[in-house]
Subunit: 644 residues, 2 copies
């Protein structure tokens, strides 16, 4: 990093970096105040320029070994981003206690919604073969403060809870432990039937409960610091307590009781919807809000950032601020299932920040989503944030090199959600490429605009869920052939001769009633509703006058066309930076941007041509007209799109 | 490679290396005789130390650009293996015309029998994204003379013949072309139905024939130097001409006619078997021998080295030497489906050589398999050898580092089958690791013994096909639950209270009658049959006296136990070489050898405990007795074993 050898010194000299806990070096309690040490907390650290025995040294200290490691990584970050280190006065402790990656990795190494090759977990050769990447992975995570990994897909396989697989998981846990990372597993609710030979998985059945108690004991014997379970139940075909007439709390509590003796936790996902619901938007709230107060102390409900499913842009989930008895954990998606998958440059920190900074008004103004999930709003000590992993066995980890920035951002925001997107991008660029100013400036601009650009070439003005069925690749707003209406794009955009958009006001499904009155009021009025959410909440006339003075149809065209121009501009900016990047990474990104531009045009043309069949209005002449027909776009098939 | 810069010179100086064809530099015809140039042939090369204009130079010349490239790679090989280069006098031309890799890669990137990650072909991002590895792959292949690649699985998907996928194939062909590598595709026989909307795929139907003619035209428009088709038909559920009452020749000729105008070829696989057959061993011969003489000139029949299916050791297929009108192409398997899959160190050159050097006696003594496949025995100018690829998207290409040696060996032997296994290992070790003598010597010993060792801890004395069903991982000689007898291990070993082995003599299925009388005679007599093939051809009493003086049962025990000792010795030898290898590769192989020893013991114990239930004899006391029960071994399940 510095281009020279840094010697290890055995004596105190000016400029020495000293890293130790107070237990290791009691004099630290004289150099650092009790209050400062307390402020660092269990995992935090202090980096301070101090005079010690007449020498000017840099002290990295903490209350734990992992704190020292985090402090050391932070110090390295300062060096690599060329920050001044002469007068350091840093106390840092994490915003959130659980900072997790959720891998959606199957036991056959297929990664659901994975666009970076296959799973990095080579289950077949574990536990005997320890791929060096496991350690690289742990180190990378520790460097950004991630302290937990759920290894397996939430569409779970009970097999991972068998003895042979627990030995494999234990081998990974052993690699991760020195890096402060705990292993979590996804618990398939029907595991007692599938691998336990029981006839039921009813959470109130004593034999079932005992099975899980025994299973927990077995797991903790293999992995003494096992973190706990992540559960998707009664969701998209997964079994759950409702199969037995029980509720989510019954299910979660059973598992919570099993791991409680070992200080384990349960993260119970709130991602549920059913075809009985009048509006998929409302389902999670309707199922979970009534259960508030019924969960054990070691349960968190893990909520996706938005009410539908990781769309390019969603309003925050109304569950945030609606439940005060149980901690809600944030689930973001790093893997770009709906965000261009493996080939689009989309920096997600602005998306994350938009949600975290959203005000729920749950306890008046300033009740941000961040304050819900950090537990401060309701006084929960258990709290956390998870990112659905975008990591695979690709050489560069994430398929798209810039996918690394999203992994990085998740870790940094889970540590400190007050960091802004620009700071995080700045850090990542400098550590990944170079500190060269013009490069950093241009790439930062590209990254910071990339999410908004993607939203606008895919789903502007609050459109959502209009992608291809199943694989979720490319546009298919016309799609209406799946057996359940809530799987079909036409359900979400509701385009007709009058207009477009999903009416969730009191005149429609009244989903807005799930928000605090302040939010509801703002969104319910078509004139005060932020236009970026407009079609999330209103069925709007094609002729509706937008703030720009354009009609909705014109605005839709304007958004789509501008977004394509914007991604073309990003492409040009990248091309101008050839001299700053090695040829391999330059070509990698260059080729991917070519695909991104092509696909942005595809989205624009396919969506406008299709919506035009309702609006009966023409795409303004000033725009380059689509060179392919709607029929052509509808004819495209992608049976082997990845991640499906 | 040399640790210094090699300057490019514009003037003639002593020590210069000059690489050019006679067309580029006409003076070459004065330096090199017509006869020598002719001997180099189309793809070969000449490397010679010559005096030219008073300077001592090294001349690399050839009749084609690709010859120059091959010559240059050969020269680099000499340098890297530290061969003397002061007096060079090399003329080299390939033994075989078609030197191919067969990828069994699916369009979703799953590799059938792949143990090195997923397919390196990222079909989803092709043709727009060109992974740099495509070029590395082409260069690696060119360096060992491989000149063709069948991109897709023989269990074929017609989709690859659609326009969108042909564009993807064309992109790969463009990368490969400068490296002398042609692209081949697997043709699904029912493609005219599946992607052509025809009602039939009958090869004698004019519409079907026209469809293939048009398809060939379309392919050649996209890929002007397209190599041709590789076809698996009427085999393991694949459609074929027999579905329409036609024969293999009818099917092959239809495709051959379609590609003939463009000089394309068809490689028609002879891997067929059916449950109607009395002995799977005999099926390919029975189906194909009667068709000899019925195939077009641009067809080759591609035959697996042995009559069953890439077992650890097989006698050569009786088809070699049985058909004289059509060229037979050799199909070896690099991917170690039955040879320890991704975790066993098995150097395959001795297996390849054993087959190539086997004498078919088809035209008297000396009618080796090599002379059958190089065309010299019957005067075929079209000839070739294919290796089923062991390459995936793993960082080290082949999963097991030593898998690279098998890829290397295939290329080298296809170029020159007179090279011996030791020479090839020597080259590979020096180019992959180091020229350090003691390292080279020890690793060569390890590699050269590894195949025999593996045969003996899996299937000694001619046992075959006793592995786990479906995934083919681990031992399962007891397995008898598949619907077809010829899929079950018990069909192959025939163990009973009398003895073990498959009687293929005249008293049994008489499969031996498919060989030349010289071979038949030797194998038919239990006393002259090479003991390594004994149980391939005889049902032998447990008490049969072997050449060693031991009974068959004792010999079986001795073989299994010695093989485990041998692999343990290999493990120790590797461990002694720590100082010669970088830590990453050292640990990689070390960990894999731990698995290999463990699995060798598993094979030994599981097989002996099972066969013991028939022999009723004990494992001699001098051996460490199995520490697990047969019941335990039978209970093992591997639903997520790779490659299945």
């Amino acid at each position: 990093m510095l281009g020279k050898n840094i010697p290890v010194k055995n004596s105190l000299q000016n400029g020495v970096i000293l890293a130790a806990t107070a237990t290791q070096l009691p004099v630290i309690t004289q150099l650092i105040s009790k209050e400062s040490l307390a402020a660092a907390g269990t995992e935090g650290f202090i980096i301070r320029s101090v005079n010690y025995q007449g020498k000017k040294i840099i002290l990295i200290t903490a209350n734990s070994d992992i704190g020292i490691l985090y402090g050391s990584f932070h110090f390295l970050r300062l060096l690599q981003t060329q920050q001044p280190v002469s007068k350091l006065e840093i106390i840092s402790s994490p915003s959130l206690q659980l900072r997790l990656l959720n891998h959606w990795d199957n036991l056959d190494r297929y990664v659901e919604r994975g666009y970076a090759g296959m799973s990095i977990w080579n289950w077949h050769t574990l536990p005997d073969y320890i791929d060096l990447r496991y350690k690289d992975y742990a180190r990378a995570n520790a460097s950004i403060g991630i302290n937990g990994v759920s290894l397996t897909n939430v569409n779970a396989n009970a097999m991972v809870l068998t003895k042979a697989y627990l030995a494999k998981c234990a081998a990974l846990a052993n690699i991760f432990r020195p890096y402060g990372i705990k292993v979590y597993l996804t618990a398939r609710f029907s595991a007692p039937i599938e691998i336990g030979n029981l006839k039921t998985a009813d959470p109130l059945n004593d034999t079932v409960r005992q099975w899980w108690n025994n299973k927990a004991k077995e797991i903790y014997e293999a992995i003494p610091d096992f973190g706990g379970f992540l559960v998707k139940a009664n969701s998209e075909g997964q079994p759950g307590p409702q199969n037995y007439g029980r509720d989510h709390a019954d299910g979660a509590n059973m598992l919570a009781d099993a791991v409680a003796p070992y200080k384990g936790i349960v993260m119970w996902r709130a991602f549920v919807y059913s075809q009985q619901s009048t509006d998929r938007f409302k389902q999670a709230y309707e199922e979970f809000k009534p259960l508030d107060g019924k969960f054990r102390k070691n349960v968190l409900v893990q909520v996706k950032n938005g009410p539908i499913d990781f769309q390019p842009r969603e309003p925050f989930s109304p569950l945030f601020g609606a439940m005060d008895q149980i901690p809600l954990m944030m689930e973001f998606q790093l893997t770009q299932e709906y965000l261009g998958q493996g080939t689009h440059l989309v920096y997600e920190a602005p998306l994350f920040k938009e949600v975290l900074e959203a005000d729920t008004y749950a306890k008046g103004k300033g009740s941000t989503v961040a304050k819900v999930i950090d537990g401060s709003l309701y006084g929960h000590s258990l709290n956390g944030m998870a990112g659905v992993s975008n990591i695979g066995n690709n050489r560069n980890w994430t398929g798209h090199l810039f996918g690394q920035a999203n992994w990085y951002a998740l870790g940094r925001l889970a540590w400190n959600y007050n960091l802004n997107s620009e700071q995080i991008a700045d850090e990542w660029i400098r550590q990944t490429f170079t500190n060269e100013r013009s490069f950093v400036t241009t790439i930062k601009k590209i990254m910071l605009s990339s999410h908004e650009t993607m939203v606008n070439y895919m789903t502007p003005l609050g459109l959502h869920h209009i992608m291809g069925n199943g694989h979720h690749y490319g546009p298919a707003p016309w799609s209406d052939n799946l057996p359940r209406p809530d799987w079909n794009p036409v359900y979400y955009h509701q385009a007709d001769s009058f207009g477009i958009g999903f009416d969730r006001t009191v005149r429609g499904t009244n989903a807005l009633a799930q928000f605090a009155p302040e939010i509801r009021k703002q969104y319910e009025d078509i004139n005060t509703c932020d236009e970026k959410y407009l079609l999330w909440f209103h069925h709007v006339s094609w002729k509706h006058k937008m703030k720009s003075g354009l009609t909705l149809w014109e605005e839709l065209c304007a958004k789509y066309y501008k977004a394509v121009d914007d991604i073309k501009a990003i492409q040009q900016q990248w091309n101008s930076l050839k001299n700053y990047v090695d040829a391999e990474r330059f070509q990698h990104v260059q080729q991917l941007l070519t695909i991104q531009v092509k696909e942005a045009i595809w989205w624009r043309n396919a969506c406008l041509l299709y919506f035009q069949t309702f609006s009966k209005m023409s795409i303004p002449d000033k725009y380059e007209q689509p060179d392919k027909s709607l029929k052509y776009y509808k004819s495209l098939r992608f049976p082997y799109a990845p991640g499906n």
